[in-house]
């Protein structure tokens, strides 16, 4: 019996992080639902035990069903039959297993037939499913849409749509159009209110829509005629039962082939408005995108884990020149670097998920009662941390998962280039993670704000002041030095007061910040368990060397030299 949860003790380590007790207490409104629902937790230990057991089911379905199906799903892919998307056989089987286990609607409140899981276990489920099949993880992860409905839609819409998730309805978020990719302000799909039918009607084309033929779709559309920017966009929910959208084609992709990417044509498609008009992009989609970025983070960690395991296994079995190749420095260094990066990206993933949990828990509590002043401050604090860490996570984890998949193929040598092992699929699947839900370049744009305004620096300095076990003190002090080096470098760039120069170095600065912040996370992981000391040590030493290299490059690249790069 393969179980992708129980065979990976790192997951339980993050599931039982000390901050969880606050998250669970808030999420469960102080364990007040136990009298109303027979499956609600009685106390903190009970809740964590339930999460653990639910993860075991996810791990079992992933190991026993989703992973064995991944190869055939990749080959077969979805088909367009009579204007409908038909999933590959394995995809249907995967989805059925999760629906029958009652796991869809994972984080929805119990009143909507959900399991009321916090983000940490939800993100973990995404990591586990992604390790089995990253393409299928999109179909699982699109239940994020339920959260947008929960947070922003009317009670009437909530009652209509939310209970459908647990019954197995799938979801999609229809944002991108041929001329509106990274720049969603340019969305043109038209929404007009029909006074006779008393509903909104959608007309236009959406492109690159993951799971485009889903049962429930969130659609970004222009409701304000004559506008051209974000303020004219609203968010709608479209029900597939209305059969007013045709699937023009399913894209033929490099990877994540099991996940249908569709071009959709809306013709007088009836739809219901979510929340208020004009807030579609500015508020609702921004929130949805943050969840989706967390989702790509979990997908990246899952893919990296899969790649590492494949490479490690092969390296121990494959013999050349009379010994297994893992004995050679060139190979074991690659594998150890993979492992260290995975520990780092995973720590960043769950740290970010905890911040999201905390501020969202406060937000949802605020819908029921007035928050105390200190609670409001906490909510704000964690929302800011979530905003700071999300682009860092998306950038770092997606880039690392690509490097790890690349190195994994390298370890397989020629064999890895063949279709005989899953590693070539993992490599293809990984490629999308730096692109969708905001490219790496756009994550840098989102993250650089916190380099400029000192956000990251204040987090680093606060962490430098925390105490660690004496034997880890050298790592803390190393990070402290890196922090001050980072501060000086930012200061120096700012002295030029040249925006283009700042932008030119922005990725380097964000990556320096990532090295330091993840370094601190691993240091605290090591402080909690010896298991992470080796990773913290290697990560921080490598990060320090990388940061020195970045500083050296920046110091030798003055504003006028930026011109040399212009084509």
């Amino acid at each position: 019996m393969e179980n992708f949860y129980t065979d990976n003790p790192h997951l339980r380590f993050h599931l039982t992080h000390p901050l969880m007790s606050r998250i669970v207490k808030l999420k469960e409104s102080d364990y007040s639902q136990k009298d109303k629902y027979d499956f609600a937790p009685l106390d903190y230990e009970d809740a964590i035990d339930s999460y653990d057991k639910i993860m075991e089911i996810i791990g079992e379905i992933s190991g026993e069903i989703i992973a064995p199906n991944a190869e055939s799903v990749d080959k077969e892919g979805p088909q367009l039959v009579n204007n409908e998307v038909r999933y590959a056989r394995g995809t249907r089987e995967n989805h059925d297993a999760l629906v029958k286990a009652g796991l869809v609607g994972f984080s929805l409140p119990r009143e909507y037939d959900g399991l009321n899981m916090p983000h940490v276990p939800y993100v973990m489920s995404g990591e586990i499913v992604s390790r089995a099949d990253a393409g299928f993880a999109n179909i699982w992860g699109l239940q994020d849409c339920a959260e947008t409905i929960l947070e922003f839609a009317s009670d009437e819409l909530k009652a209509e749509f939310l209970p459908r998730f647990n019954k197995g309805d799938t979801a999609a978020m229809d944002l991108t159009e041929p001329d509106a990719g990274s720049d969603l302000q340019a969305v043109q799909l038209k929404a007009t209110y029909d006074n006779h039918k008393h509903c909104w009607l959608l007309d236009g084309v959406k492109r690159f829509i993951t799971n485009g033929d889903a049962d429930i779709s969130l659609v970004l559309a222009r409701s304000e005629e004559g506008t051209t920017d974000a303020r004219g966009l609203s968010l709608f929910v479209y029900d597939r039962k209305d059969k007013a959208v045709s699937v023009r084609r399913i894209e033929n992709k490099l990877g994540i082939k099991g996940s249908p990417t569709c071009e959709l044509v809306f013709k007088q498609a009836p739809a219901k408005l979510i929340g208020d008009t004009k807030l579609g992009l500015i508020k609702y989609v921004m929130s949805l995108m943050n969840s989706a970025r967390l989702g790509v983070g979990s997908q990246s960690v899952g893919l990296a884990e899969a790649a590492y395991r494949e490479a490690y296994k092969y390296a121990t079995e494959r013999e050349q020149f009379g010994k297994s190749i893992i004995k050679y420095p060139a190979v074991y260094e690659m594998l150890t670097n993979m492992k260290v990066k995975i520990d780092g990206m995973r720590s960043l993933l769950y740290e970010t998920a905890r911040y999201v949990d905390l501020y969202k828990c406060y937000n949802s509590a605020s819908r029921e009662r007035k928050l105390e002043a200190d609670e409001r401050q906490e909510a704000k604090h964690y929302q800011r941390l979530a905003d700071m860490f999300t682009p860092l996570l998306k950038l770092y984890s997606s880039e690392c998962c690509n490097q790890i998949a690349y190195d994994a193929i390298q370890i397989f040598g020629g064999t890895g280039y063949m279709k005989d092992f899953p590693i070539e699929r993992i490599y293809r699947d990984a490629r999308i993670t730096t692109i969708y839900e905001g490219t790496s370049q756009l994550q840098v744009v989102a993250a650089i704000r916190y380099v400029g305004n000192g956000g990251y620096l204040s987090v680093m300095r606060e962490r430098a002041g925390l105490r660690v076990n004496p034997e880890l003190e050298y790592l803390r002090s190393s990070l402290e030095k890196m922090t001050e080096q980072f501060a000086r470098t930012v200061e120096k760039i700012n002295e030029f007061s040249d925006n283009e120069y700042f932008d030119f170095h922005s990725r380097r600065l964000v990556e320096m910040a990532a090295n330091i912040l993840i370094g601190y996370l691993l240091l605290f992981d090591a402080n909690r368990s010896d298991e992470y000391t080796m990773s913290a040590d290697i990560f921080i030493r490598k990060g320090r060397a990388e940061n020195v290299a970045a500083v050296s490059f920046i110091n030798n690249c003055h504003p006028k030299e930026v011109n040399d790069y212009k084509l």
């Binding site: 027979d38 499956f39 609600a40 937790p41 009685l42 230990e45 035990d49 339930s50 057991k53 639910i54 089911i57 079992e60 379905i61 297993a97 029958k100 286990a101 009652g102 796991l103 399991l115």
Partner: protein, 290 residues
Amino acid sequence: MRFRIIVLAKQVPDTRNVGKDAMKADGTVNRAALPAIFNPEDLHALEQALSIKDKIPYAEVILLTMGPTRAAEIIREAMYRGADRGFLITDRKFAGSDTLATSYALSLAVKKLTPYHLVISGRQAIDGDTAQVGPQTAEKLGIPQITYAEEILSLDAKKIIVKRRLERGVEVVNSTLPALITVHSSAPPCRQRIGKLLMKYKHARTLTELQNETKDYTELYNERPYLLIEEWSAEDLKADSQSLGLSGSPTKVKKIENVVFQHKESKVLSNSDKDIEKLMQTLISSHIIG
């Protein structure tokens, strides 16, 4: 009246992934070295019962198992998948039971659950591999038995039609109810544990288990009596002590040898008296029995 389905299941050592320490020096199974699991074919049996319950809402699925305290785990496992409740037959007096003594105890427990409509079990357990307990239980209950079941083709309050998976093909048979069927591994695998049921039933415990718990949830069991798994002793079953455990088990292990399989052959015999006579002679002359 509810349509009552009783599933007979066994907790077994996981013999599918045996290591070097799987057997003790004296030739008995080293249970400590092997994880205890739900006997695989009994899971197929449970699935058959649960899929009947999917179709007949008034059906009730009861899991019955005999074993030590820890065997309550498979009752919980069954409840996570949709079984309504379970009973643990447990008593030191049952220790050392062979298939005859086991089927005696099980048949008493099934009788205690009268009126029942169907008894379903796996074809055989992976520790003993005898495939005898199901048929013997049916005999003791005096009800028809259908072994090697692969699919239930139709079912109503009085009759069942079953497809059997045999070595050389399939056979479709019907029977009146109540009946006992044993399920073959070619039947569909059991469904996954269901999230909400798992969270609902994870605190289900026998009284014996509760006595060893560190945390006091007494109030919980008062509020939710369905969380208490009932234990049945030999006395509860009004069992004749001579028919139980070692004294009720004519099977005696004389010697255990390690064998390395070299050939895999089988002989097919008809159920004529002549063939059975021939088989008996072969078995006696080769000292397999006698």
